[in-house]
């Protein structure tokens, strides 16, 4: 019997669906014309312009700082929350679960507004830190969810075995629990990173003078800027960086071949 062609065709369709827009973007970043619909010839003018644009680079820097900090903090808090939810059952935990889940479904505009009102009433000046705090509030829910899924089929007997063999609580946590949960925590952290780096609505409300992030700057540039295609160039560079990071991490996390 001939092997079915369906999986192959599906693969091709999915790859085209995922990567054709990206290929189009990269192509357009080298387009002399300002408009995607017309090919005006090859040039690197938008890349040159990008490196003259200190504000875009600064906004990208802000976005990266916030996303890194928000994902690290929400990894810690989210894991703690997941533990509490999985290990202890009580009325209070039901309320806790509700509070963790609500930010997943809460409209961004509502969160942005309420956080802004909170910061204003506390008299906190708006800056990168307020954005980071805001991002942690929604990121930690995602991390908690992912880690909790991992905890559901976690064998707590391994921890007890470690304790039986003389490990302290901390040792058992660091040497047994954490390494086993690490993939879940990292997955949650990556999710948090991507959510943070492209959030617009919440960020707009809690950003302060001089803390424009890449999404807020890009949205504003759509209105009056002559330099919009610079964003294509920037996106292409970010894409290249992402591919490199993924390739390197795949190399690093490849299981070490067993030598004899």
């Amino acid at each position: 019997m001939k092997p079915s062609r369906v999986p192959f065709v599906t693969l091709v369709i999915v790859l085209v669906f995922l990567y054709l827009p990206i290929a189009f973007l990269v192509m357009n970043s080298c387009n002399t014309s300002r408009f995607a619909s017309k090919w005006g010839g090859f040039s690197l003018r938008w890349y040159e312009r990008l490196f003259e644009r200190q504000d875009i680079i600064a906004a990208l820097g802000n976005s990266l700082k916030i996303a890194t900090a928000a994902s690290i903090i929400s990894m810690v808090l989210g894991t703690a929350a997941a533990f509490a939810l999985e290990r202890h059952r009580s009325r209070l935990q039901d309320a806790h679960r509700l509070l963790i889940t609500v930010p997943l479904v809460l409209p961004d505009i509502l969160m942005g507004m309420s956080l802004l009102l909170l910061f204003v009433s506390l008299g906190v000046s708006l800056n990168l830190i307020t954005i980071t705090v805001a991002h942690v509030t929604f990121c930690l829910s995602y991390v908690a969810l992912v880690v909790q899924a991992r905890l559901q089929d976690f064998d707590f007997n391994t921890v007890e075995a470690a304790r039986d063999l003389g490990a302290t609580k901390l040792q058992a946590f660091v040497k047994v629990t954490l390494p086993l949960l690490a993939p879940g925590i990292l997955a949650g952290g990556l999710l948090a990173f991507t959510l943070s780096i492209d959030d617009y609505v919440i960020t707009y409300f809690v950003k302060g003078p001089g803390s424009d992030t890449l999404p807020t700057l890009v949205y504003s540039m759509i209105k009056k800027s002559k330099d919009l295609p610079v964003i294509n160039a920037l996106s292409s560079l970010m894409l290249a960086a992402t591919f490199i990071v993924v390739a390197v991490s795949q190399r690093l996390t490849r299981p070490t071949p067993i030598r004899d």
Binding site: K38, D55, T68, A69, L128, F205, D212, K223, S225, L252
Partner: protein, 348 residues
């Protein structure tokens, strides 16, 4: 160094350097401008920073409504705002603006009196006009035979399905009002009802209401006639020589963004100095050429390149300019407009 060691150390190093830090830039004064992205030339900023030994920080918004929502919630820290005229009126009604001290603004004498006469804030008590541009129609010369420079173009059935209108109540009903010879800001129910019927007629002819894609659409030849903002259309026409932009002879919206100072600024003197700097003729001329809009600054007009000064779109002849109006705040008459606009949007 083994692999795991590498991962942990590099991750730690990365995390350590990337934590948000709030480094204040010494004792230098800071002026924060809340504005649209790329709406201020680099030279204009640099010149001001040098003259006043301060740093200009730009913070951006992407719509007047978003800006209003944020300021009304109590966000502070801004020294200059650059909203559209109607949003200035809304801010002023909530008494969020600081009255301008004209003794600190000697360059206000440069401001174009012919525009000022129509502006909402005629005496510049709270705001100084910054940049303006009309709403235009634009067609492809090769596709549209015997064009007329009038809103009546929108009725031409030979262009059916190749026309777009802005997805904006004020622009579409405003154009219809102008077409009928009324004021752009009319709140007369009978005039509005007539304008609604005109707009419904136009709607039958258009492909869609569109705010962003029309410029790419006409530059690529997908649309033959679009209603759009002069700034966008002028940019697009650099790519396509077939595009013809005009202000309809019945007049159109000539919207303006204004400079104003929020009441809670901590730097009123520096903010005044900034407004004065931008109204200086040579700064205004350079800024205009950089942004591609018209600053209502009579003294600066003479310093513009002939090309820029000769643009019939940004500098229309007096006969047409006198028929153009800025979009004004409707205040409590807004529901009248929204109900007519709903009828246009739901009409089949």
């Amino acid at each position: 160094m083994n692999r795991r060691h590498f991962i942990t150390t590099s991750a730690a190093a990365l995390a350590a350097t990337s934590l948000p830090s709030c480094n204040s830039s010494g004792k230098k004064k800071t002026l924060t401008v809340f504005t649209w992205a790329d709406y201020l030339s680099e030279n204009a900023t640099a010149g001001f920073e040098k003259a006043n030994d301060c740093t200009v920080v730009i913070d951006t918004f992407d719509s007047n409504e978003a800006m209003l929502a944020k300021l009304e919630s109590g966000a502070t820290g801004y020294d200059i705002l650059v909203p559209s005229s109607y949003a200035v009126q809304a801010l002023n009604r909530k008494s969020m603006l600081m009255p301008l001290d004209h003794s600190k603004l000697p360059n206000l004498k440069n401001v174009d009196a012919s525009y000022l006469a129509k502006a909402a804030d005629t005496k510049m008590e709270f705001s100084v006009p910054y940049m303006m541009a009309p709403t235009c129609l634009c067609y492809l010369e090769s596709k549209v035979s015997n064009p007329v420079e009038s809103w009546s173009m929108l009725d031409r059935t030979d262009l059916k399905g190749r026309v777009t209108l802005l997805d904006d109540m004020r622009e579409v009903l405003g154009a219809a009002l102008k077409f009928l010879g009324h004021s752009l800001n009319s709140t007369d129910p009978a005039q509005l009802a007539a304008a609604r019927d005109v707009a419904i007629g136009w709607k039958k002819n258009i492909a869609k209401f569109e705010n962003e894609q029309y410029k790419t659409g006409i530059a690529s030849g997908e649309f033959f006639l679009v209603q759009g903002y002069a700034g966008d259309l002028l940019q697009a026409s650099e790519e396509n020589e077939d595009m013809r932009i005009f202000i309809p002879q019945e007049g159109s919206a000539f919207s303006c963004d204004d400079l104003c100072i929020p009441k809670n600024t901590t730097q009123p003197d520096l903010a005044h100095a900034f407004i004065d700097h931008l109204t200086a003729s040579e700064v205004a001329a350079e800024n205009m050429a950089w942004i591609g809009y018209r600053a209502p600054n009579s003294a600066a007009y003479a310093q513009l390149s002939e090309d820029f000064r000769g643009s019939p779109v940004l500098f229309p002849p007096d006969g047409i300019f006198s028929k153009c109006e800025p979009i004004a705040d409707l205040g409590d008459k807004l529901p009248l407009w929204t109900s007519e606009w709903d009828k246009v949007k739901t009409a089949v």
